[in-house]
């Protein structure tokens, strides 16, 4: 089945997000995507994570509102992608 190596992950404080989109372009593997309709209580859209995070911290470094917590896995995971990700 299709998998991808995942070296890291992030915790996203969606309530702190102001929906500026800066993190989306900043993410090298492009694994961040903004919500299209969902907004936080202040009415802002926020990012969500796809499989493939490298834990590079780019999102955290550029986020003006300190929304990200970044983790690096001690040992990388192999996660299914595409249809295979469906449980």
């Amino acid at each position: 089945m299709n998998t991808t190596t995942v070296r890291g992950t992030v915790v996203i404080d969606t309530e702190a997000c102001k929906g500026c989109d800066l993190c989306i372009d900043a993410c090298p593997p492009q694994v961040l995507e903004m919500t299209t309709h969902e907004v936080n209580t202040r009415g802002y859209r926020y990012p969500r994570l796809l499989a493939g995070c490298t834990g590079c911290q780019a999102c955290a470094q550029i986020c003006p509102d300190f929304v990200f917590q970044v983790y690096k896995y001690d040992t990388p995971l192999e996660l299914p992608v595409g249809e295979d990700a469906r449980q």
């Binding site: 890291g8 989109d21 796809l50 995070c53 986020c63 003006p64």
Partner: protein
């Protein structure tokens, strides 16, 4: 929506063994929540400046002098000692501090309106004196705090609240390239310009700031790091367009790179 399932859970730390490499609230910032606008470049620059202090283990000898601008919101939100100066006057205040605490690490945080408009004389005299302090210029080419009016660093053709048709050299004069000007002074040891409009530039910003700090600790003299920051609100553009606007409007005139090294 149909393919919600492709997203990973990001509500809590991972179950799998993993190392926390970046926490919500950056080092030496007291609390993450602040009132600056969405997409503002200033918190990014201030984060880099604080992380560099932490990494060089300067936190316990640092005094940061703030000018007046939107970034001033962070004067009361840092875990390093702070002196709030008046608009434009930070370099003189920093001078008085450094002269009395030669072993201290003294930093100023100022905007283009603060440093290049109201306080141009202060920073240039400090640079000429070779004052052993580090000045950070957060340059967004506008007075953000007061609503996006033209400053001396606004580039030709740039539209601001007070240059609606775009900055016209005949009516509004030419922009001042502060770093280039300061670099010509003998007292200036380290001068560099960078930006926070993309991940690579953010990393470069932190690198330049670190070098400036090192040059102060080495007693090399005056150091200046100019950081081009997004101001979507003052530019009247969407937050998403901020980075490109910076690249296309400010960066071509205020060129990025190290202008002077010790």
């Amino acid at each position: 929506m149909s393919n919600e399932w492709i997203y990973l859970s990001t509500h809590a730390p991972p179950q799998e063994p993993a190392a926390l490499v970046d926490d919500f609230t950056p080092s030496l910032i007291t609390q993450a929540n602040h009132h600056l606008c969405p997409g503002c470049g200033e918190p990014i620059a201030i984060r880099a400046a604080m992380e560099a202090i932490e990494e060089l283990e300067l936190a316990e000898r640092t005094i940061t002098v703030f000018g007046i601008g939107c970034y001033t919101a962070f004067a009361h939100n840092l875990d390093v000692e702070v002196v709030q100066a008046l608009h434009g006057r930070a370099p003189s205040v920093a001078t008085g501090i450094k002269r009395m605490l030669p072993d201290g690490f003294v930093l100023t945080v100022q905007g283009d309106g603060d440093m290049v408009n109201e306080g141009l004389q202060e920073v240039l005299h400090a640079a000429a004196r070779g004052e052993n302090i580090t000045c950070l210029l957060l340059n967004n080419g506008v007075f953000g705090e007061t609503g996006g009016q033209m400053t001396t660093t606004t580039t030709l053709g740039q539209r601001t609240k007070t240059s609606i048709e775009g900055r016209d050299p005949h009516q509004h004069g030419h922009p001042i390239l502060l770093s280039d000007l300061a670099a010509t002074l003998d007292g200036a040891a380290y001068v560099a310009r960078c930006a926070v409009n993309n991940a690579g530039n953010v990393a470069r910003t932190k690198r330049y700031i670190t070098r400036a700090y090192e040059s102060q600790m080495a007693g090399a003299g005056f150091s200046l790091v100019e950081i081009l920051t997004m101001c979507p609100t003052g530019w009247f553009v969407d937050t998403l367009e901020g980075p490109d606007y910076l690249q296309d409007t400010l960066a071509p005139v205020h060129g990025i790179g190290e202008l002077k090294t010790p």
